[in-house]
C-alpha cells in the first residue's frame, strides 16, 4: 500500500532522515518508536508530504506521490492524519469540523456528511457535543473528534503523530481505546507513539528508529522481549 524508497530529508545542513526503505501493507498496524530527534515524526509527515522529502520516492496505492505531476490533495483524501496538538478548527463547531472537508471537496453532500458525522459522534459517545466548539472540550474529547474528523473522509490509511503525548494521563486511555477499535476493524495504521502498551497490544510490526534510520524492526513480541540492536536494547532499558 505504501512503499518508501531511499527516503532522505534534511533541514538545511541537518540530515533528519538518512535513507529509509520500507513497505507497509494493507491492514498492517505499524508502530514507529525511537528516541526524540530520531526522525520518526518527520518520517510520518513525509508519508503525506506535509514534509517534502529531499531525496527518494514514496508510492501510495501505486502512485508516486513525490512526483510533481501527482495531485497530492487527491492522495491526502485517502490518508487521514491525527496530530499531537489535535489541530481542531477552533472557529467551527464539532459538526462543522467533521463535515467541512467532505462537503467542500464534494466527496459527500451536506446531508450525507452530517449523517456520517452523527454516526461517528454516536460511536465515540459524544453526540451531545455536535454543536459545541473545540474550546469547550477536554483534551481526550478533542483528540477523539480529531480522529473521527479524519475518518469522515473514509481514508485507506490513518497516520498518527504522537496522538496521546499532549494529553493528561487520565485521558490517554479513551484515545487509545478508540485507536484499538480502529485497528480491530482492519484499518491500516502508522502510529508514532511513546505508548509501549499500545505497541505491544496492537502493532503487527514495530519499527525502531535512531538517527534518521530504521535500526531494527520486528513483531512486538520479539522486539520487546528480545531486542537485537544495541541501540534498541539501550532505548528499551531506559523506558521499560
Amino acid at each position: 500500500m505504501i512503499v518508501i524508497k531511499d527516503l532522505k530529508k534534511s533541514f538545511g545542513n541537518h540530515l533528519v532522515l538518512n535513507g529509509i526503505n520500507e513497505k507497509i501493507e494493507k491492514g498492517e498496524k505499524v508502530v514507529v518508536i525511537g528516541p526524540s530527534g530520531s526522525g520518526k515524526s518527520t518520517f510520518l509527515r513525509c508519508l503525506n508530504l506535509l514534509e517534502v522529502p529531499t531525496e527518494g520516492s514514496i508510492w501510495f496505492e501505486g502512485n508516486n506521490i513525490t512526483d510533481k505531476n501527482t495531485d497530492i490533495n487527491l492522495i491526502r483524501r485517502k490518508m487521514g492524519m491525527v496530530f499531537q496538538q489535535f489541530n481542531l478548527f477552533p472557529h467551527l463547531t464539532v459538526m462543522e469540523n467533521i463535515t467541512l472537508a467532505p462537503v467542500k471537496l464534494g466527496v459527500m453532500s451536506k446531508e450525507e456528511a452530517e449523517q456520517k458525522a452523527v454516526e461517528l459522534l454516536a460511536r465515540i459517545g459524544l453526540s451531545e457535543k455536535a454543536k459545541a466548539y473545540p474550546n469547550q472540550l477536554s483534551g481526550g474529547q478533542k483528540q477523539r473528534i480529531a480522529i473521527i474528523r479524519a475518518l469522515a473522509m473514509n481514508p485507506d490509511v490513518m497516520l498518527f503523530d504522537e496522538p496521546t503525548s499532549a494529553l493528561d494521563p487520565e485521558m490517554v486511555g479513551e484515545v487509545l481505546d478508540l485507536m484499538v477499535q480502529l485497528a480491530d476493524e482492519g484499518m491500516t495504521m502508522v502510529v508514532v507513539t511513546h505508548e509501549m502498551r499500545f505497541a505491544k497490544k496492537v502493532a503487527t510490526r514495530v519499527l525502531f528508529m535512531d538517527e534518521g534510520r530504521i535500526v531494527e524492526q520486528n513483531t512486538p513480541d520479539e522486539f520487546f522481549n528480545n531486542p537485537k540492536h544495541p541501540r534498541s536494547k539501550e532505548f528499551l532499558s531506559k523506558i521499560l
Binding site: Q85, F89, P90, L92, L100
Partner: protein
Amino acid sequence: MKAITDWFIGIYQSFYNALIPDRRYLAYLNGIKVTLLISFFAILLGIIIGILVAVVKVSAVESKMKWLQSICDVYITVIRGTPLMVQLLIIYNLVFTSRNTNEIVVGAICFGINSGAYVAEIIRAGIESIDRGQMEAGRSLGLNYMQTMKLIILPQAIKNILPALGNEFIVLIKETSVASVIAVTDLTQAAQYIGSRSWDVLPPLTIAAVCYLIMTMGLSKLLTSIERRMARSDRH
C-alpha cells in the same frame, strides 16, 4: 447675568447661521454623504487589496511567486513611506487627467490603495499568528492551500485582528478630510465653504467635528458587535 445670557444667545445665533439660512444643513448632509461614500468604497477596496497582498506575501515563501512578493513589498514600502496628500495629488493629476473624472471615485480609489497597504500588514500579522498546525490539518484532509486559507486560516486571523482593522478604518474615515485638495466637497470642505459664506468659521467646523465623531463612534459600535459575534467560539 445678562452677560451670560447674551453669550448663549450669541452662540445660538452663530450656530443658527451655520445651519439654517440658505438651507445650509443640506450642504453638511451632502458632505456626510460624500465622506461616507468615499470611506465605504475605500474600506472595501482596502480589504480586497489587503487580503490579496497579505496572502501573496505569506504564500510566496513556499512557491515560485517570489516576483509577486517583490511587487507587494514595493507597493507597501511606497504607500507607507509617502504622505497621503501627495499620493492623492499625484493620482488625481497624473492618472486621472481627463476633465470629467468623478472626484468621489478618484478619492475612493486613492484612499483604498492607501489603506490596502496598512490592511495588508495587519492581515499578514493575523495570518502569521495562527498556529501552523491549522494549515497542516486542513491540508492533511485534502483541502488545497487556497481552500485552507479561505475556510480555516483567514476566518481565525480576521477575528484576531478585528480591533486593529477597526482602528485602521477609523483613521481612514478621518483622513478622507484631506480629499478636499482634489476639489471633493466632502464634510470638511462643506464646513469650510459655509464658514466662508457666514464669516464665522468655528461653528461649521465644530458641527463637522461632531459629525465625524458620530460616524467613527457608529463604526466602532458596529465593530464591537461583530467582535462579540465572532467570539462565540471562545466560550468555555
